[in-house]
Amino acid sequence: MTNVTGWLKQTGIRAAKPLRVAVALGTCSGLLLILQAWVLAGIVNTVVFGHRGMTAVSPMLMSLLAVFAARSAIAWASERMAFHAAANIKLDVRRQLLEHLFALGPVRMVAEHAGELATTLTDGVEALEAYYARFLPQMALAALVPLSILAVVTPLDWVSGLVLVATGPLIPLAMIFIGRNAEALNQRQWRRLARLSAHFLDVLQGLTTLKLFNASRREAAVVAKLSDDYRKSTMAVLRIAFLSSLALEFLATVSIALIAVLIGFRMMWRDLGFRAGLLVLLLAPEFYLPLRTLGTHYHARMNAIGAGERIVQLLKTEAPPQPQAALALPASNRIGIQLQNVRYAYDSGHLVLDGVSIEIAAAEHIALVGPSGAGKTTVVNLLLGFAQPDSGQILVNGYPLDAVDRRQWLKHVTWVPQNPRIFHGTVYDNITLGRPGSDREAVRAAAHLALADEFIESLPFGYDTVVGEGGRGLSGGQVRRLALARAFFKDAPVVILDEPSASLDLESEAKLTAGLDRLTRGRTTVVIAHRLNTVMNADRIIVLDHGQVVESGTHRELLGQTGLYHRLVGQYAGAG
């Protein structure tokens, strides 16, 4: 909590100047307001007691117009100032978050939290606006404007000044008191409402289940009863909760009434002139206004703290160090890879790879198999440079991978994960990922090789159809073929695949198999395999278990042994 408020403060320093200008403008506006009230009181005084007409008041009326114009201009300028202060902070924070996100890298991105993270980067950052643009300036104004008014009122009428001094500080105090209590009450109330909303959502989500059990009709009565109970309990709480704001309202309104009556008597006793009296009456509500406005902006602070907590949490997550390697791999379309005694452990200390050595010749097809948690995915992550081995090394055509520039190495690699991502954009954008502005013929050719051209051309706008949000509207088979087209388009000498475990319909499956065969031909291929067919066609199968290579060889060789692989596929191989 404290480090969040600290962060908010520190972040605000970047916009200290425009914020100070906004406060200065607000104060100016407050001073002009006093002037305006003084002139207005003067006009009324002249007419009522000076018994004079237009000629006497018209200079005052004209000067009032000038004050109005100035105040409008100032109001506009201060709004814009505050906006720019907050907008620059939001841009900065969002840029910082984005940079951090990419610095964290793919291994640390937990896909399930994508929605929550995206909310932090969008709505979370937006929640800072009201804090910087409204709450902070209002904080300063809530002190400056009432003090200025007090400074004018007290010399004119010390009695009213006394009333203001006595009640003014009570308002922020009452607000803090109410704030604390109301916050607790509010939160309790909020939880209740959330629970009611959650119940309704629960019923909507479970409607199929209710209906299957013929229970859906009787649930309408439950919805009604719960809502009604909620209303009763809420009103019981609100009756008390509103009492505190009643006290606040009472304080402000009744002191104004008190001031009016007191001024009236002092005028009758000729203790006070009419102009001064009217001025005090005009200023009294303005004395309380900034204090009350502060209260309404208070929830902006709560929102900002809530959002700030999530932002600080994300920024505190440490990014792994980026190896600074500049070696460029000599151009070659034949790439061999060696893993030499590679060890890798998670941050938690859990050992995932325990001395793994694999030699992959150029254009060789390797199938990685093993139970879940055996370390297959980690091998792929290391090959892709998403993680670095704790010890041991990976050689690419004899060059140590950790000395090679990662971007340059990845130009040699195509990766098709188990659930390929379809990005928001056109089909063309998705195929040419990373190389915008590429030749359309090449894109078409890649789609053709992936057997994806037929379905792409049947889309409403062909290659210019916008797909995205995870490929909504495309079938699982189409998503995979699109990813395959992406791989063909990249045309890299190394192919890394994570074979899907769930099956597709017959036609998609046949097309996908044919496309994959074409893609891997003549290329160094590492596939995390789930299908018998795939392992049977591999040049070599590497069986991983508990972070170690336990077996390695062709399908035939491994079947001859009585290891994990034999136990696994023996039954099916026997049937074939």
């Binding site: 009522v48 994508a114 809420t234 309104t253 938690s348 696994l568």
Partner: protein, 584 residues
């Protein structure tokens, strides 16, 4: 406009509360004007009396000032109570209204909203509807009425002052909000669009970071997100410029109204059309008359949001129901034999066929498995049998009568279904189970739980069967949810049991256990078992393999495995014994 009228119609039953709320709000606004006016007059009168060296009857006005102050504060309290009471009553009514509308449409009519956060958006939309009362109806009505009253009051003294005030009120309360809305609608829509694009770009970056990195597109994606962030700022900048100008202008309107009252008042006093002591009163009443219109720009905005929410809600409830119950009572089925002949289904009259030529015979006690990849039409078949959808071709008969002859609820009483995504309600384990059989005793509940291999898990909970499920209580694992759902289906003594991928998400040991219990439980029941997993199929009387809405193979396990079949092909996968997932 018809959306607005229809929405108003939903609020009509609560018109008494609504009117009461508006009345109290009006009193609060009027009390403020009266307080200011009286104070102004009192000051002037007292000063005049003082100047003349005399005195005046100050008791009545001084008392009036105090009374108005108290009326305002007390009224505000009452206003809050009444408007909240009215809001909560409306909210409760709207929920029940929506539920009663949506219930006959479910689940087919809600299918488009399943998954993701669409369903919760519906929930939020319903919550947004009661903004109509609190944020639009009350402020607009109060503004109109209080403006009218201020006009009448001022016109007693001077028609000119009243007309000038009315003019500035109309500018501040109607013209400016409308102009703001007009000017703001473009940037407003762009803001929504840009921020949703930004969100998409961030989600793409998070979920596709690996592929972006390998493709060398990571920096481009980061740049794209930053570009959108800048564009959002630009859109907001335009919006802030508009709202800033409007709020500065509406402040100016108040000032100009006061200014013209002072100007006109000066002339009127000079010509003795009004008494001098009335001038400060008129000026202050004009000032006070702007309190109620200050909320109108916001009301205008809320109205837009509320109507958009209402349009979405009406679109949901206006969907036609997929199934209509027959007028006659259900026939008495001869037995529990279920037969499908040449059944075809599609979701819309011109859409593609989801199911084609499905033939299936489920004699009492028979166990049939339906196997196929996702998209094969397995779950659509269940929705036909549960009477959630209408079949277009062929014939389905239960106990000798077509499915269409039965009342849907009577039909569902004979069929117990464990859906693919069983829902556990946010209440106790017991209440969740009792849904299937409201009058079952503890013995029956436990028996069903034992059969589904979940009794031991429940028993181990601190509060046993009275433990809460979900948000308010503990989280069950996916496997436990499946088994609870199976227990719930077993508790209902229906002759036909349909299970949609019941072992999905279970480890193989539990899978085997659940299969054992299912076999035992279906001893005297018909079992339709839908799956894409292969465990337990050797125990089925028939295995039906589906692909894209058609049956491509059928037979027993051994028959299908001996031959060049899709079934055999599906078995050619590597299945390792699962291990507990590693912790990152």
């Amino acid at each position: 406009m018809s959306t607005f009228r229809r929405l108003i119609g939903l609020f009509l039953p609560y018109w008494r509360w609504i009117a009461f709320g508006i009345l109290v709000s009006l009193v609060v606004v009027i009390a403020n004007m009266a307080l200011l006016g009286t104070a102004g007059w009192f000051l002037a009168a007292m000063a005049v009396a003082g100047a003349a060296g005399g005195t005046m009857n100050y008791l009545l006005p001084a008392a009036a000032i105090r009374a108005f102050a108290i009326l305002r504060t007390g009224g505000r309290y009452l206003e809050r109570l009444v408007t909240h009471e009215a809001t909560l009553r409306c909210l409760s009514g709207l929920r029940v209204w929506f539920y009663e509308r949506i219930e006959p449409l479910a689940p087919a009519g809600l299918e488009a909203y399943q998954g993701g956060d669409l369903l919760s958006r519906i929930g939020a939309d319903i919550d947004a509807l009661d903004n109509l009362y609190l944020r639009t109806l009350v402020p607009v009505t109060v503004a109109v009425l209080s403006t009218l009253m201020a006009f009448i009051f001022l016109s007693q003294y001077s028609l000119q002052v009243a007309v000038a005030d009315l003019g500035f009120l109309a500018l501040a309360g109607a013209a400016l909000p409308l102009v703001a809305r007009r000017l703001g609608s473009g940037p407003g829509a762009r803001m929504v669009e840009t921020s949703s694009q930004l969100r998409l770009a961030v989600v793409d970056a998070i979920q596709g970071m690996g592929e972006l990195t390998v493709s060398g597109a990571d920096r481009a994606q980061q740049k794209e997100a930053e570009r959108l962030s800048h564009r959002l700022q630009k859109d907001q900048d335009r919006m802030s410029s508009i709202t800033g100008s409007v709020s500065a202008l509406s402040g100016l309107m108040v000032n100009l109204a006061v200014w013209s009252a002072a100007l006109l008042g000066t002339v009127l006093v000079r010509h003795q059309h009004i008494a001098a002591v009335d001038l400060p009163m008129l000026v202050l009443v004009v000032m006070g008359s702007f309190e109620s219109v200050a909320q109108l720009p916001q009301a205008c905005q809320y109205l837009g949001h509320t109507l958009a929410a209402a349009r979405r809600i009406f679109a949901v409830v206006d969907a036609p129901a997929c199934i209509t119950d027959p007028a006659q009572a259900s026939p008495q089925p001869r037995d529990t034999r279920l037969e499908l002949r040449g059944v075809g289904l599609r979701y819309s009259p011109s859409g593609p066929w989801v199911l084609t030529d499905i033939d299936l015979a489920l004699a009492p006690g028979r166990r049939v498995a339906i196997l196929g990849p996702s998209g094969a039409g397995k779950s659509s078949l269940i929705s036909l049998l549960a009477r959630f959808r209408e079949y277009e071709r062929g014939d389905i008969r239960l106990g000798g009568y077509p499915l269409r002859a039965y009342q849907a609820e009577d039909l569902r009483a004979m069929i117990s279904v464990v859906p693919q995504h069983p829902h556990l309600f946010n209440t106790t384990v017991r209440a969740n189970l009792l849904l299937a059989a409201p009058d079952a005793d503890q013995g029956r509940i436990e028996a069903a739980a034992r059969s589904a291999r979940i009794h031991a898990d429940i028993d181990a909970l601190p509060e046993g069967y009275d433990s809460y499920v979900g948000e308010a209580g503990l989280k069950f694992s996916r496997g436990q949810i499946r088994r609870l759902a199976i227990a719930r289906a077993l508790l209902r003594d229906a002759p036909i049991l349909i299970l949609d991928e019941p072992t999905e998400g279970l480890d193989s040991a539990t899978e085997r256990e659940v299969m054992d219990s299912l076999m035992a439980a279906s001893d005297n029941r018909t079992l339709l078992f839908i799956t894409h997993r292969l465990a337990g199929l050797e125990r089925m009387d028939e295995i039906v393999v589906m692909d894209r809405g058609r049956i491509i193979e059928r037979g027993r396990h051994a028959e299908l495995l001996n031959g060049n079949t899709r079934y055999r092909q599906m078995h050619a996968v590597l299945v390792f014994p699962p291990e507990p997932a590693a912790v990152h």
